[in-house]
Protein backbone atom coordinates (compact mmCIF):
# COMPACT_ATOMS: atom_id res chain seq x y z
CA UNK A 1 0.00 0.00 0.00
CA UNK A 2 2.79 2.38 1.02
CA UNK A 3 4.67 1.26 -2.05
CA UNK A 4 1.71 2.11 -4.27
CA UNK A 5 1.34 5.49 -2.59
CA UNK A 6 5.01 6.27 -3.21
CA UNK A 7 4.67 5.29 -6.86
CA UNK A 8 1.44 7.26 -7.21
CA UNK A 9 3.05 10.39 -5.79
CA UNK A 10 6.09 9.99 -8.04
CA UNK A 11 3.89 9.47 -11.11
CA UNK A 12 1.96 12.64 -10.24
CA UNK A 13 5.17 14.64 -9.85
CA UNK A 14 6.61 13.41 -13.13
CA UNK A 15 3.31 13.96 -14.96
CA UNK A 16 3.17 17.55 -13.68
CA UNK A 17 6.82 18.04 -14.69
CA UNK A 18 6.01 16.87 -18.24
CA UNK A 19 2.99 19.18 -18.41
CA UNK A 20 5.10 22.15 -17.25
CA UNK A 21 7.89 21.30 -19.65
CA UNK A 22 5.75 21.55 -22.81
CA UNK A 23 4.08 24.90 -22.05
CA UNK A 24 2.75 25.72 -25.53
CA UNK A 25 1.23 22.29 -25.91
CA UNK A 26 -0.21 22.43 -22.41
CA UNK A 27 -1.85 25.82 -23.00
CA UNK A 28 -3.48 24.54 -26.20
CA UNK A 29 -4.88 21.38 -24.65
CA UNK A 30 -5.99 23.12 -21.46
CA UNK A 31 -7.83 25.73 -23.54
CA UNK A 32 -9.56 23.01 -25.58
CA UNK A 33 -10.69 21.20 -22.44
CA UNK A 34 -11.76 24.47 -20.81
CA UNK A 35 -13.80 25.31 -23.91
CA UNK A 36 -15.50 21.92 -23.80
CA UNK A 37 -16.26 22.39 -20.10
CA UNK A 38 -17.48 25.94 -20.67
CA UNK A 39 -19.81 24.87 -23.49
CA UNK A 40 -21.35 22.26 -21.21
CA UNK A 41 -21.73 24.55 -18.20
CA UNK A 42 -23.14 27.39 -20.29
CA UNK A 43 -25.66 25.27 -22.18
CA UNK A 44 -26.71 23.57 -18.96
CA UNK A 45 -27.06 26.96 -17.19
CA UNK A 46 -29.05 28.27 -20.11
CA UNK A 47 -31.33 25.22 -20.24
CA UNK A 48 -31.89 25.35 -16.52
CA UNK A 49 -32.39 29.12 -16.65
CA UNK A 50 -34.97 28.89 -19.44
CA UNK A 51 -36.91 26.26 -17.50
CA UNK A 52 -36.75 28.13 -14.20
CA UNK A 53 -37.44 31.52 -15.76
CA UNK A 54 -40.40 30.04 -17.63
CA UNK A 55 -41.78 28.53 -14.44
CA UNK A 56 -41.29 31.81 -12.57
CA UNK A 57 -43.02 33.78 -15.31
CA UNK A 58 -45.96 31.39 -15.29
CA UNK A 59 -46.09 31.61 -11.51
CA UNK A 60 -46.05 35.41 -11.75
CA UNK A 61 -48.83 35.30 -14.31
CA UNK A 62 -50.82 33.65 -11.55
CA UNK A 63 -52.85 31.52 -13.92
CA UNK A 64 -53.48 27.84 -13.29
CA UNK A 65 -54.90 26.58 -16.58
CA UNK A 66 -54.33 27.75 -20.15
CA UNK A 67 -56.87 27.11 -22.88
CA UNK A 68 -55.73 27.46 -26.48
CA UNK A 69 -56.05 25.77 -29.81
CA UNK A 70 -53.26 24.14 -31.81
CA UNK A 71 -49.78 25.37 -31.07
CA UNK A 72 -49.10 28.96 -30.27
CA UNK A 73 -46.32 30.27 -32.43
CA UNK A 74 -44.82 33.53 -33.53
CA UNK A 75 -45.41 34.37 -37.18
CA UNK A 76 -42.70 35.81 -39.40
CA UNK A 77 -43.74 39.33 -38.52
CA UNK A 78 -43.53 38.68 -34.81
CA UNK A 79 -47.22 38.32 -34.17
CA UNK A 80 -48.77 35.30 -32.54
CA UNK A 81 -51.65 33.43 -34.10
CA UNK A 82 -54.91 33.96 -32.35
CA UNK A 83 -56.74 30.65 -32.66
CA UNK A 84 -59.69 31.04 -30.24
CA UNK A 85 -62.88 32.55 -31.63
CA UNK A 86 -65.64 33.96 -29.42
CA UNK A 87 -63.11 34.24 -26.66
CA UNK A 88 -65.16 36.51 -24.37
CA UNK A 89 -68.06 34.04 -24.50
CA UNK A 90 -65.76 31.08 -23.87
CA UNK A 91 -64.23 32.91 -20.89
CA UNK A 92 -67.68 33.72 -19.52
CA UNK A 93 -68.80 30.09 -19.92
CA UNK A 94 -65.70 28.84 -18.16
CA UNK A 95 -66.06 31.36 -15.36
CA UNK A 96 -69.53 30.01 -14.65
CA UNK A 97 -68.06 26.67 -13.64
CA UNK A 98 -67.79 25.98 -9.91
CA UNK A 99 -64.18 24.90 -10.11
CA UNK A 100 -63.11 28.13 -11.86
CA UNK A 101 -62.54 31.38 -10.06
CA UNK A 102 -61.70 33.62 -13.03
CA UNK A 103 -61.36 33.12 -16.78
CA UNK A 104 -60.01 35.82 -19.09
CA UNK A 105 -59.21 35.98 -22.79
CA UNK A 106 -55.68 37.05 -23.71
CA UNK A 107 -54.77 38.13 -27.25
CA UNK A 108 -51.49 38.82 -29.00
CA UNK A 109 -51.05 40.75 -32.21
CA UNK A 110 -48.11 42.43 -33.84
CA UNK A 111 -48.58 46.19 -33.81
CA UNK A 112 -46.64 49.20 -35.01
CA UNK A 113 -46.05 51.85 -32.38
CA UNK A 114 -44.20 55.15 -32.36
CA UNK A 115 -44.32 58.84 -31.65
CA UNK A 116 -43.54 59.80 -35.25
CA UNK A 117 -45.44 58.24 -38.15
CA UNK A 118 -42.26 57.83 -40.19
CA UNK A 119 -40.51 56.09 -37.31
CA UNK A 120 -42.69 53.19 -36.19
CA UNK A 121 -41.49 49.99 -34.56
CA UNK A 122 -43.08 46.55 -34.70
CA UNK A 123 -43.75 45.19 -31.21
CA UNK A 124 -46.05 42.58 -29.72
CA UNK A 125 -49.43 43.97 -28.69
CA UNK A 126 -51.07 42.17 -25.78
CA UNK A 127 -54.81 42.46 -25.24
CA UNK A 128 -56.04 41.96 -21.68
CA UNK A 129 -59.56 42.11 -20.29
CA UNK A 130 -60.91 44.36 -17.56
CA UNK A 131 -58.64 46.53 -15.51
CA UNK A 132 -56.46 43.59 -14.84
CA UNK A 133 -53.46 44.44 -12.78
CA UNK A 134 -50.52 44.90 -15.16
CA UNK A 135 -48.01 45.39 -12.33
CA UNK A 136 -47.09 48.86 -13.47
CA UNK A 137 -43.83 50.28 -12.15
CA UNK A 138 -45.04 53.74 -13.11
CA UNK A 139 -48.59 55.05 -13.74
CA UNK A 140 -51.92 53.69 -12.52
CA UNK A 141 -52.78 51.34 -15.37
CA UNK A 142 -56.09 51.07 -17.20
CA UNK A 143 -59.00 53.15 -15.89
CA UNK A 144 -61.79 51.83 -18.09
CA UNK A 145 -60.68 48.32 -18.94
CA UNK A 146 -62.55 46.36 -21.61
CA UNK A 147 -65.39 48.91 -21.92
CA UNK A 148 -65.23 48.89 -25.71
CA UNK A 149 -66.43 45.24 -25.74
CA UNK A 150 -69.91 46.27 -24.53
CA UNK A 151 -71.29 42.75 -24.36
CA UNK A 152 -69.93 41.84 -27.77
CA UNK A 153 -71.26 44.85 -29.66
CA UNK A 154 -67.86 46.58 -29.75
CA UNK A 155 -69.55 49.96 -29.70
CA UNK A 156 -68.57 50.97 -26.19
CA UNK A 157 -66.13 53.88 -25.75
CA UNK A 158 -62.48 53.19 -26.59
CA UNK A 159 -60.32 54.18 -23.63
CA UNK A 160 -57.30 54.56 -25.97
CA UNK A 161 -55.12 53.66 -23.00
CA UNK A 162 -51.94 51.66 -23.30
CA UNK A 163 -49.30 50.26 -20.97
CA UNK A 164 -45.82 49.93 -22.47
CA UNK A 165 -42.66 48.14 -21.38
CA UNK A 166 -39.54 50.07 -20.27
CA UNK A 167 -37.65 49.17 -23.49
CA UNK A 168 -40.32 50.77 -25.67
CA UNK A 169 -40.51 53.76 -23.33
CA UNK A 170 -36.79 54.22 -23.65
CA UNK A 171 -36.81 53.68 -27.41
CA UNK A 172 -39.29 56.49 -28.03
CA UNK A 173 -38.34 58.54 -24.97
CA UNK A 174 -41.90 58.61 -23.68
CA UNK A 175 -43.51 58.23 -20.26
CA UNK A 176 -46.87 58.16 -18.51
CA UNK A 177 -49.19 60.84 -19.91
CA UNK A 178 -47.57 60.91 -23.36
CA UNK A 179 -49.39 59.60 -26.43
CA UNK A 180 -48.21 57.04 -28.95
CA UNK A 181 -49.46 55.88 -32.36
CA UNK A 182 -50.68 52.27 -32.52
CA UNK A 183 -51.74 50.31 -35.60
CA UNK A 184 -51.48 46.93 -37.26
CA UNK A 185 -49.83 48.55 -40.30
CA UNK A 186 -47.77 51.66 -40.88
CA UNK A 187 -50.73 53.10 -42.74
CA UNK A 188 -53.43 52.72 -40.10
CA UNK A 189 -51.22 53.69 -37.16
CA UNK A 190 -51.96 57.33 -37.96
CA UNK A 191 -55.63 56.75 -37.16
CA UNK A 192 -55.18 56.00 -33.48
CA UNK A 193 -53.22 57.58 -30.71
CA UNK A 194 -53.15 55.89 -27.30
CA UNK A 195 -52.33 57.54 -24.01
CA UNK A 196 -49.62 55.83 -21.97
CA UNK A 197 -51.10 55.01 -18.56
CA UNK A 198 -48.35 52.84 -17.21
CA UNK A 199 -44.92 51.27 -17.63
CA UNK A 200 -44.79 47.53 -16.94
CA UNK A 201 -42.39 44.66 -17.53
CA UNK A 202 -45.00 41.97 -16.95
CA UNK A 203 -45.66 40.84 -20.53
CA UNK A 204 -42.31 41.79 -22.01
CA UNK A 205 -40.68 39.51 -19.46
CA UNK A 206 -43.19 36.78 -20.15
CA UNK A 207 -42.68 36.89 -23.91
CA UNK A 208 -39.07 37.99 -23.93
CA UNK A 209 -39.77 40.74 -26.45
CA UNK A 210 -40.93 44.37 -26.48
CA UNK A 211 -44.64 44.57 -25.74
CA UNK A 212 -47.41 47.08 -25.38
CA UNK A 213 -50.55 46.13 -23.48
CA UNK A 214 -54.10 47.42 -24.08
CA UNK A 215 -57.68 46.34 -23.41
CA UNK A 216 -58.37 43.25 -25.51
CA UNK A 217 -61.39 44.68 -27.29
CA UNK A 218 -59.34 47.66 -28.42
CA UNK A 219 -56.56 45.42 -29.72
CA UNK A 220 -59.20 43.38 -31.54
CA UNK A 221 -60.61 46.59 -32.95
CA UNK A 222 -57.34 47.79 -34.46
CA UNK A 223 -56.49 44.22 -35.60
CA UNK A 224 -59.87 43.85 -37.24
CA UNK A 225 -60.81 40.67 -35.35
CA UNK A 226 -63.87 41.97 -33.50
CA UNK A 227 -66.17 39.97 -35.78
CA UNK A 228 -64.75 36.67 -34.55
CA UNK A 229 -63.60 37.91 -31.11
CA UNK A 230 -60.22 36.23 -31.45
CA UNK A 231 -57.84 35.52 -28.57
CA UNK A 232 -54.70 33.47 -28.16
CA UNK A 233 -55.53 32.07 -24.76
CA UNK A 234 -58.25 31.95 -22.21
CA UNK A 235 -56.44 31.84 -18.91
CA UNK A 236 -58.06 30.39 -15.84
CA UNK A 237 -57.44 30.58 -12.11
CA UNK A 238 -58.86 27.60 -10.28
CA UNK A 239 -61.33 28.06 -7.43
CA UNK A 240 -59.82 27.91 -3.95
CA UNK A 241 -59.00 24.42 -2.78
CA UNK A 242 -59.44 22.85 -6.21
CA UNK A 243 -56.66 20.80 -7.79
CA UNK A 244 -55.52 22.55 -10.97
CA UNK A 245 -54.71 19.26 -12.72
CA UNK A 246 -58.27 18.07 -12.10
CA UNK A 247 -59.71 21.37 -13.39
CA UNK A 248 -57.51 21.15 -16.49
CA UNK A 249 -58.58 17.57 -17.23
CA UNK A 250 -62.23 18.31 -16.64
CA UNK A 251 -62.24 21.35 -18.94
CA UNK A 252 -60.38 19.37 -21.60
CA UNK A 253 -63.15 16.76 -21.53
CA UNK A 254 -65.83 19.42 -21.83
CA UNK A 255 -64.01 21.28 -24.62
CA UNK A 256 -62.19 18.65 -26.71
CA UNK A 257 -61.73 21.14 -29.57
CA UNK A 258 -59.25 23.14 -27.46
CA UNK A 259 -55.92 22.30 -25.90
CA UNK A 260 -56.21 22.67 -22.16
CA UNK A 261 -52.98 22.70 -20.19
CA UNK A 262 -51.78 23.48 -16.71
CA UNK A 263 -49.03 26.13 -16.42
CA UNK A 264 -46.34 23.44 -16.38
CA UNK A 265 -47.75 21.69 -19.42
CA UNK A 266 -48.08 24.99 -21.25
CA UNK A 267 -44.42 25.80 -20.56
CA UNK A 268 -43.36 22.37 -21.82
CA UNK A 269 -45.47 22.86 -24.93
CA UNK A 270 -43.88 26.25 -25.64
CA UNK A 271 -40.37 24.90 -25.06
CA UNK A 272 -40.93 21.93 -27.34
CA UNK A 273 -41.30 24.36 -30.20
CA UNK A 274 -37.70 25.35 -29.69
CA UNK A 275 -36.46 21.76 -29.97
CA UNK A 276 -34.41 22.58 -33.05
CA UNK A 277 -32.63 25.39 -31.23
CA UNK A 278 -32.00 23.10 -28.25
CA UNK A 279 -30.76 20.35 -30.58
CA UNK A 280 -28.37 22.80 -32.26
CA UNK A 281 -27.05 23.82 -28.84
CA UNK A 282 -26.61 20.20 -27.83
CA UNK A 283 -24.82 19.45 -31.11
CA UNK A 284 -22.39 22.31 -30.51
CA UNK A 285 -21.67 20.97 -27.03
CA UNK A 286 -21.05 17.46 -28.38
CA UNK A 287 -18.70 18.91 -31.01
CA UNK A 288 -16.84 20.91 -28.35
CA UNK A 289 -16.52 17.76 -26.25
CA UNK A 290 -15.28 15.69 -29.18
CA UNK A 291 -12.77 18.41 -30.11
CA UNK A 292 -11.54 18.52 -26.50
CA UNK A 293 -11.19 14.74 -26.34
CA UNK A 294 -9.54 14.48 -29.76
CA UNK A 295 -7.02 17.24 -29.06
CA UNK A 296 -6.14 15.84 -25.63
CA UNK A 297 -5.70 12.29 -26.88
CA UNK A 298 -3.84 13.36 -29.98
CA UNK A 299 -1.43 15.45 -27.95
CA UNK A 300 -0.79 12.75 -25.37
CA UNK A 301 -0.36 10.02 -27.97
CA UNK A 302 2.09 12.34 -29.73
CA UNK A 303 4.02 12.62 -26.47
CA UNK A 304 4.19 8.83 -26.34
CA UNK A 305 5.30 8.61 -29.99
CA UNK A 306 7.97 11.30 -29.59
CA UNK A 307 9.37 9.62 -26.51
CA UNK A 308 9.03 6.03 -27.68
CA UNK A 309 12.76 5.35 -27.48
CA UNK A 310 13.01 6.88 -24.01
CA UNK A 311 10.02 4.80 -22.93
CA UNK A 312 11.59 1.66 -24.37
CA UNK A 313 14.79 2.52 -22.50
CA UNK A 314 12.85 2.87 -19.23
CA UNK A 315 11.35 -0.54 -19.89
CA UNK A 316 14.84 -1.89 -20.52
CA UNK A 317 16.10 -0.59 -17.18
CA UNK A 318 13.30 -2.45 -15.46
CA UNK A 319 10.41 -0.01 -15.12
CA UNK A 320 7.04 -1.73 -15.38
CA UNK A 321 4.58 -0.94 -18.17
CA UNK A 322 2.15 0.33 -15.52
CA UNK A 323 4.61 2.92 -14.22
CA UNK A 324 5.53 4.07 -17.73
CA UNK A 325 1.85 4.29 -18.73
CA UNK A 326 1.23 6.22 -15.50
CA UNK A 327 3.95 8.80 -16.19
CA UNK A 328 2.56 9.51 -19.69
CA UNK A 329 -1.11 8.99 -18.84
CA UNK A 330 -0.83 11.03 -15.64
CA UNK A 331 -0.49 14.05 -17.88
CA UNK A 332 -4.05 13.42 -19.05
CA UNK A 333 -5.36 13.86 -15.52
CA UNK A 334 -3.26 16.95 -14.96
CA UNK A 335 -4.38 18.55 -18.23
CA UNK A 336 -7.99 17.55 -17.52
CA UNK A 337 -7.91 19.12 -14.06
CA UNK A 338 -6.27 22.32 -15.34
CA UNK A 339 -8.79 22.58 -18.19
CA UNK A 340 -11.65 21.85 -15.82
CA UNK A 341 -10.59 24.48 -13.30
CA UNK A 342 -10.11 27.06 -16.07
CA UNK A 343 -13.49 26.20 -17.60
CA UNK A 344 -15.18 26.50 -14.23
CA UNK A 345 -13.45 29.78 -13.42
CA UNK A 346 -14.50 31.13 -16.82
CA UNK A 347 -18.11 30.02 -16.35
CA UNK A 348 -19.32 32.85 -14.05
CA UNK A 349 -17.66 35.45 -16.28
CA UNK A 350 -19.24 33.99 -19.43
CA UNK A 351 -22.58 33.65 -17.63
CA UNK A 352 -22.43 37.33 -16.67
CA UNK A 353 -21.70 38.32 -20.28
CA UNK A 354 -24.45 36.07 -21.66
CA UNK A 355 -26.91 37.33 -19.06
CA UNK A 356 -26.15 40.87 -20.15
CA UNK A 357 -26.65 39.86 -23.78
CA UNK A 358 -29.90 38.03 -23.02
CA UNK A 359 -31.21 41.00 -21.05
CA UNK A 360 -30.48 43.41 -23.88
CA UNK A 361 -31.79 41.10 -26.62
CA UNK A 362 -34.84 39.45 -25.12
CA UNK A 363 -35.40 41.36 -21.89
CA UNK A 364 -34.86 38.43 -19.49
CA UNK A 365 -32.76 39.33 -16.47
CA UNK A 366 -30.53 36.64 -14.93
CA UNK A 367 -31.55 34.07 -17.50
CA UNK A 368 -28.65 31.68 -16.87
CA UNK A 369 -28.68 29.70 -13.64
CA UNK A 370 -25.56 28.12 -12.13
CA UNK A 371 -26.28 25.95 -9.11
CA UNK A 372 -23.29 23.90 -7.78
CA UNK A 373 -24.39 20.87 -9.82
CA UNK A 374 -23.48 22.78 -13.01
CA UNK A 375 -19.90 23.29 -11.80
CA UNK A 376 -19.67 19.69 -10.60
CA UNK A 377 -20.79 18.50 -14.03
CA UNK A 378 -18.14 20.69 -15.69
CA UNK A 379 -15.40 19.25 -13.50
CA UNK A 380 -16.66 15.73 -14.15
CA UNK A 381 -16.47 16.35 -17.91
CA UNK A 382 -12.90 17.66 -17.61
CA UNK A 383 -11.79 14.70 -15.50
CA UNK A 384 -13.57 12.41 -17.98
CA UNK A 385 -11.70 13.88 -20.94
CA UNK A 386 -8.43 13.73 -19.01
CA UNK A 387 -9.04 10.12 -18.02
CA UNK A 388 -9.85 9.10 -21.57
CA UNK A 389 -6.71 10.86 -22.81
CA UNK A 390 -4.70 9.23 -20.03
CA UNK A 391 -5.97 5.74 -20.76
CA UNK A 392 -5.29 5.96 -24.50
CA UNK A 393 -1.90 7.66 -24.12
CA UNK A 394 -0.90 5.33 -21.30
CA UNK A 395 -1.83 2.35 -23.40
CA UNK A 396 0.17 3.66 -26.36
CA UNK A 397 3.11 4.40 -24.07
CA UNK A 398 3.00 0.85 -22.73
CA UNK A 399 3.02 -0.41 -26.33
CA UNK A 400 6.09 1.65 -27.10
CA UNK A 401 7.84 0.53 -23.95
CA UNK A 402 9.33 -2.42 -25.74
CA UNK A 403 12.91 -3.21 -26.58
CA UNK A 404 12.10 -3.30 -30.32
CA UNK A 405 11.79 0.48 -30.16
CA UNK A 406 15.41 0.78 -29.00
CA UNK A 407 17.64 1.61 -31.92
CA UNK A 408 21.32 2.20 -31.66
CA UNK A 409 22.82 4.22 -34.49
CA UNK A 410 25.91 2.12 -35.04
Amino acid sequence: MGNLLTKGRAITRYAVAQVRHERGRTVLVVLAIALAVLSVTLLASLGLGVLQTGEERFDQAGQDVWVTSDSVELTATGSIENPIADSHQLAADLENRDDVKTASPLAFHAVYVGTELDDLELVTGVGVPGTRNTNTVDGDGFSEGDSHYANGTYDGPMSQEIVIDPQTAELFDVGVGDTIYVGTSRMNAAEREFEIVGISTQYSQFLGTSTVTMPISELQEIAGTTGTDRATYVTITAADGVDRDAVSEDIQQSYPEYDVRTSEEQLESMLSEYLLVLASGATLVVLALLAGIALTMNTLVLVAVQQREELAALRAIGLSRGLIAGVVGGQGFTLGMLGGVLGILATPVAVLALDHLAASLVGFENLLRTPPIIYATGLLIAVGIGTLGAVVAGWRAAQYAHVDKLHSRQ
Binding site: A10, Y14, A17, H21, I317, G318, L319, L406, S408, Q410
Partner: protein
Amino acid sequence: MTALEEISFNIHAGEIVGLVGPSGSGKSTALHVVGGLLEPIEGTVDVLGTDLTELSSSQRTRLRRDHIGFIFQQFHLLPALSARDNVALPLVERGVGRRERQQRATELLEQVGLGDRLSHRPGELSGGEQQRVAIARALVTDPELVLADEPTGELDTETGAQVLELLVDVAEDQTVLVATHDERAIDVTDRVLRLLDGEITTDE
Protein backbone atom coordinates in the same frame (compact mmCIF):
# COMPACT_ATOMS: atom_id res chain seq x y z
CA MET B 1 19.01 -13.21 -40.62
CA THR B 2 21.10 -14.59 -37.79
CA ALA B 3 22.75 -11.88 -35.67
CA LEU B 4 24.71 -14.20 -33.40
CA GLU B 5 25.79 -17.80 -33.88
CA GLU B 6 27.70 -20.26 -31.69
CA ILE B 7 28.72 -17.47 -29.36
CA SER B 8 29.95 -18.37 -25.91
CA PHE B 9 31.75 -16.32 -23.28
CA ASN B 10 32.06 -16.01 -19.51
CA ILE B 11 32.53 -12.86 -17.53
CA HIS B 12 33.71 -12.94 -13.95
CA ALA B 13 32.26 -10.78 -11.24
CA GLY B 14 33.98 -7.38 -11.06
CA GLU B 15 35.45 -7.66 -14.55
CA ILE B 16 35.27 -4.83 -17.06
CA VAL B 17 34.88 -6.37 -20.49
CA GLY B 18 34.79 -4.67 -23.88
CA LEU B 19 32.67 -6.20 -26.62
CA VAL B 20 34.40 -4.63 -29.60
CA GLY B 21 33.52 -4.90 -33.25
CA PRO B 22 32.42 -2.97 -36.31
CA SER B 23 28.82 -1.97 -37.05
CA GLY B 24 26.60 -4.99 -37.63
CA SER B 25 28.99 -7.40 -35.90
CA GLY B 26 26.26 -8.34 -33.39
CA LYS B 27 27.68 -6.69 -30.27
CA SER B 28 24.49 -4.79 -29.39
CA THR B 29 22.47 -7.96 -29.94
CA ALA B 30 24.83 -9.86 -27.62
CA LEU B 31 24.40 -7.11 -25.00
CA HIS B 32 20.60 -7.23 -25.28
CA VAL B 33 20.65 -11.02 -24.91
CA VAL B 34 22.76 -10.73 -21.74
CA GLY B 35 20.34 -8.06 -20.46
CA GLY B 36 17.34 -10.31 -21.13
CA LEU B 37 15.92 -7.87 -23.68
CA LEU B 38 16.22 -10.49 -26.43
CA GLU B 39 15.81 -14.25 -26.18
CA PRO B 40 18.14 -16.55 -28.09
CA ILE B 41 16.51 -19.20 -30.28
CA GLU B 42 18.91 -21.78 -28.91
CA GLY B 43 21.30 -22.06 -25.97
CA THR B 44 21.34 -20.69 -22.44
CA VAL B 45 22.14 -17.30 -20.97
CA ASP B 46 23.33 -17.53 -17.38
CA VAL B 47 23.36 -14.13 -15.70
CA LEU B 48 24.16 -13.87 -11.98
CA GLY B 49 23.42 -17.57 -11.55
CA THR B 50 20.06 -17.49 -13.32
CA ASP B 51 19.28 -18.95 -16.76
CA LEU B 52 17.42 -16.11 -18.49
CA THR B 53 15.87 -18.48 -21.03
CA GLU B 54 13.93 -20.07 -18.17
CA LEU B 55 12.41 -16.76 -17.06
CA SER B 56 9.19 -15.11 -18.17
CA SER B 57 9.22 -11.58 -19.61
CA SER B 58 8.13 -10.01 -16.31
CA GLN B 59 10.70 -12.06 -14.38
CA ARG B 60 13.43 -10.79 -16.70
CA THR B 61 12.15 -7.22 -16.20
CA ARG B 62 12.39 -7.72 -12.45
CA LEU B 63 15.92 -9.12 -12.81
CA ARG B 64 16.95 -6.05 -14.80
CA ARG B 65 15.31 -3.74 -12.27
CA ASP B 66 17.09 -5.37 -9.32
CA HIS B 67 20.44 -6.42 -10.73
CA ILE B 68 21.28 -4.80 -14.08
CA GLY B 69 22.03 -1.22 -15.09
CA PHE B 70 21.76 -0.07 -18.71
CA ILE B 71 23.56 2.73 -20.54
CA PHE B 72 22.49 3.57 -24.11
CA GLN B 73 24.19 5.26 -27.01
CA GLN B 74 21.52 7.98 -27.24
CA PHE B 75 21.24 8.49 -23.46
CA HIS B 76 17.43 8.12 -23.53
CA LEU B 77 16.71 10.57 -20.72
CA LEU B 78 13.20 11.96 -20.27
CA PRO B 79 13.46 15.57 -21.53
CA ALA B 80 10.92 17.01 -19.07
CA LEU B 81 12.64 15.71 -15.96
CA SER B 82 15.66 17.22 -14.22
CA ALA B 83 18.95 15.31 -14.13
CA ARG B 84 18.18 14.27 -10.55
CA ASP B 85 14.66 13.04 -11.39
CA ASN B 86 15.97 11.08 -14.38
CA VAL B 87 18.56 9.38 -12.18
CA ALA B 88 15.97 8.68 -9.48
CA LEU B 89 13.43 7.15 -11.86
CA PRO B 90 14.52 3.48 -11.50
CA LEU B 91 14.12 3.80 -7.72
CA VAL B 92 10.42 4.65 -8.13
CA GLU B 93 9.76 1.13 -9.40
CA ARG B 94 11.32 -0.20 -6.19
CA GLY B 95 8.99 1.94 -4.09
CA VAL B 96 11.78 4.06 -2.58
CA GLY B 97 10.45 7.26 -0.95
CA ARG B 98 11.11 10.65 -2.53
CA ARG B 99 13.59 11.95 0.03
CA GLU B 100 15.74 8.83 -0.26
CA ARG B 101 15.46 8.83 -4.06
CA GLN B 102 16.70 12.40 -4.25
CA GLN B 103 19.49 11.79 -1.80
CA ARG B 104 20.72 8.73 -3.69
CA ALA B 105 20.41 10.48 -7.09
CA THR B 106 22.33 13.50 -5.75
CA GLU B 107 25.15 11.25 -4.50
CA LEU B 108 25.42 9.52 -7.89
CA LEU B 109 25.37 12.80 -9.82
CA GLU B 110 28.12 14.14 -7.54
CA GLN B 111 30.15 11.01 -8.23
CA VAL B 112 29.91 11.63 -12.00
CA GLY B 113 30.87 15.29 -11.49
CA LEU B 114 27.43 16.81 -12.02
CA GLY B 115 26.75 17.98 -8.48
CA ASP B 116 26.05 21.45 -9.85
CA ARG B 117 23.66 20.26 -12.55
CA LEU B 118 21.03 18.53 -10.38
CA SER B 119 18.06 20.57 -11.55
CA HIS B 120 19.15 20.91 -15.18
CA ARG B 121 17.02 19.21 -17.79
CA PRO B 122 18.68 17.06 -20.49
CA GLY B 123 18.18 19.84 -23.05
CA GLU B 124 20.34 22.12 -20.89
CA LEU B 125 23.22 19.63 -20.72
CA SER B 126 25.97 18.78 -23.20
CA GLY B 127 26.15 15.29 -24.76
CA GLY B 128 28.92 14.25 -22.37
CA GLU B 129 26.95 15.53 -19.39
CA GLN B 130 23.81 13.70 -20.55
CA GLN B 131 25.74 10.44 -20.83
CA ARG B 132 27.11 11.01 -17.33
CA VAL B 133 23.51 11.41 -16.11
CA ALA B 134 22.70 8.12 -17.88
CA ILE B 135 25.64 6.44 -16.11
CA ALA B 136 24.37 7.74 -12.77
CA ARG B 137 20.89 6.38 -13.64
CA ALA B 138 22.36 2.98 -14.48
CA LEU B 139 24.17 2.83 -11.15
CA VAL B 140 21.51 4.31 -8.85
CA THR B 141 20.02 0.90 -8.00
CA ASP B 142 23.52 -0.40 -7.23
CA PRO B 143 23.32 -3.23 -9.78
CA GLU B 144 25.79 -6.14 -9.96
CA LEU B 145 26.01 -5.89 -13.74
CA VAL B 146 26.21 -2.76 -15.93
CA LEU B 147 25.59 -3.09 -19.68
CA ALA B 148 26.70 -0.17 -21.86
CA ASP B 149 25.65 -0.09 -25.51
CA GLU B 150 27.93 2.21 -27.54
CA PRO B 151 28.15 4.71 -24.66
CA THR B 152 30.53 6.96 -26.62
CA GLY B 153 28.74 6.70 -29.99
CA GLU B 154 27.16 10.16 -29.75
CA LEU B 155 30.19 11.91 -28.24
CA ASP B 156 33.31 13.51 -29.64
CA THR B 157 36.62 11.70 -29.14
CA GLU B 158 37.78 13.53 -26.05
CA THR B 159 34.41 13.50 -24.30
CA GLY B 160 34.00 9.82 -25.22
CA ALA B 161 37.30 8.97 -23.58
CA GLN B 162 36.35 10.91 -20.45
CA VAL B 163 32.98 9.16 -20.23
CA LEU B 164 34.58 5.70 -20.59
CA GLU B 165 37.10 6.52 -17.87
CA LEU B 166 34.35 7.79 -15.64
CA LEU B 167 32.27 4.67 -16.23
CA VAL B 168 34.99 2.24 -15.17
CA ASP B 169 35.89 4.54 -12.31
CA VAL B 170 32.44 4.84 -10.72
CA ALA B 171 31.47 1.25 -11.50
CA GLU B 172 34.40 -0.16 -9.55
CA ASP B 173 32.22 -2.62 -7.61
CA GLN B 174 30.26 -3.73 -10.68
CA THR B 175 30.76 -6.12 -13.54
CA VAL B 176 30.71 -4.00 -16.69
CA LEU B 177 30.12 -5.12 -20.28
CA VAL B 178 30.69 -2.37 -22.86
CA ALA B 179 29.64 -2.91 -26.48
CA THR B 180 31.59 -0.48 -28.65
CA HIS B 181 33.37 0.02 -31.93
CA ASP B 182 35.66 2.47 -30.20
CA GLU B 183 39.12 0.88 -30.07
CA ARG B 184 40.06 3.10 -27.12
CA ALA B 185 37.84 0.92 -24.99
CA ILE B 186 40.81 -1.44 -24.86
CA ASP B 187 42.65 1.11 -22.73
CA VAL B 188 40.10 1.04 -19.93
CA THR B 189 38.83 -2.57 -19.96
CA ASP B 190 40.29 -5.64 -18.28
CA ARG B 191 39.46 -7.83 -21.24
CA VAL B 192 38.29 -7.42 -24.83
CA LEU B 193 36.05 -9.77 -26.80
CA ARG B 194 36.28 -9.06 -30.52
CA LEU B 195 33.15 -9.77 -32.50
CA LEU B 196 32.80 -10.13 -36.29
CA ASP B 197 29.73 -11.25 -38.20
CA GLY B 198 28.07 -12.62 -35.09
CA GLU B 199 31.05 -14.67 -33.90
CA ILE B 200 33.73 -14.02 -31.31
CA THR B 201 37.06 -13.91 -33.11
CA THR B 202 39.40 -12.95 -30.30
CA ASP B 203 39.33 -13.06 -26.48
CA GLU B 204 42.29 -10.99 -25.26
